[in-house]
Assembly symmetry: C2
Homo-oligomer: 244 residues x 2
């Protein structure tokens, strides 16, 4: 049986992504992790380090989907404004939280570094939020309402995703099987369309490639229903696997 | 003098990006190309192969920014619905266009392949749109209103960007210089914040890294005003370059 999966959105925050200086890798990481956990990434957005843009996107995406995950903008510098924008999006009081300050103080004490004013910015957390552990550089993320606010540095983002996801109840995981077909996409499109219409509980994706002078297609069949996938794969093999 | 740059948005269309199966590379390519051409990528979104989601995003993004560039969903299969969704977004008549059909017919004739019904889907173009040349597999993109609709396959997307961008008047290109500082981001954040406040015509970005056991930061100064960048770089060198 097909079950509804909880839905999620991602908001990537950072001028450096939009200027092209940095290639985002967090979206692909989160997409895979959510799929494995039985959640559906329904939409993703990238906005600049701009307070109004962040507030607008957080309000919209957290209202439209079950969960919102953000990446970026929680460091110590002047352009790190995600935490205050998220607080503003939900009209929450915002300032240095003692639990977050204690985490940072312990971390910088261990490193023999100073918890200066810039670093203390990273202890500013909206009231009522739960902290998300940062095992790498201590500065926490946080969860408030249905929004999970995480760092942009990939290693930290990935660690935060690993600690947040177990707290969220996923649906049945999405399963998939694939078949490589050495034909042009236009040669198999008609068959794929008929199979998709006949099997509404599966999603059939077709991903063309061009390699060593020849066209081919990877056909990917996705569903929460393993038997439904098997049935479509059998049809695909019948149509395509023997040079039919 | 700082000039206003035209603004742009990108819409990436495809279930395979949101499931994590495929890692998008078109956004980073477009971001760099726009920056070089003097346009500002202001926002990017990823949506599923879903007609309503595409229509809503196309209407919003084409209204909010000067240009919209889309990627994906213009192939021959059942889930390639971008062209019809864009036509619907602007209430334009939509069907097989003879100029697009002629391009495809010539291409498949050369290849000794059949222009079948599935492939003919790729000749469906909104009325009034201009075709965008596809030097790789012939199926054209198109430009309508301020929206440029392009393929998702990276090599084709990149070729289409290269043919579209010269038709768009960019602003003065964004210039940048950078300095690597071997300190923690929290150690330099205060200085960066003061420089950013004193030089509003430049954008100062700070990108921490962790390499070989040591923290460091790449500081990137961006502006359309080369002299303003030089002034800030001189300050950065004075503060940081000599282990200050």
């Amino acid at each position: 049986m097909t079950q509804t999966r909880p839905t999620a959105a991602m908001l990537v925050i950072g001028d450096e992504i939009l200027s092209g200086r940095t290639r985002d890798s967090n979206m692909n990481h989160l997409a895979k992790a959510l799929t494995e956990h039985g959640l559906q990434l329904a939409e993703a957005r990238v906005v600049a380090d701009d307070r109004d843009a962040i507030i607008t996107a957080v309000r919209h995406l957290s209202g439209a989907w079950d969960y919102l995950f953000t990446s970026g903008g929680i460091g110590p510098t002047h352009d790190d404004i995600t935490a205050e924008a998220v607080a503003a999006a939900f009209d929450l009081p915002f300032g240095v939280r003692e639990d977050a300050r204690a985490l940072l103080q312990a971390h910088y004490d261990r490193q023999g570094m100073e918890l200066n004013e810039a670093r203390l910015r990273m202890a500013r957390i909206p009231e009522g939020a739960c902290l998300i552990d940062n095992p790498i550089s201590a500065a926490p993320g946080f969860s408030v309402c249905n929004v999970h606010v995480m760092a942009g540095v990939p290693a930290i983002f990935e660690a935060m995703v690993a600690s947040v996801l177990p707290t969220i109840t996923g649906g049945a995981p999405m399963l998939s099987q694939s078949l490589r077909v050495d034909k042009g996409e236009g040669d198999i499109a008609d068959t794929l369309g008929r199979l998709a219409a006949a099997h509404p509980q599966v999603s059939i994706g077709s991903y063309p490639f061009y390699r060593n002078g020849a066209h081919g297609v990877n056909v990917v069949v996705r569903s929460q229903d393993a038997a439904a996938i098997d049935a479509v794969m059998a049809e695909l093999h019948r149509h395509f696997a023997q040079g039919a």
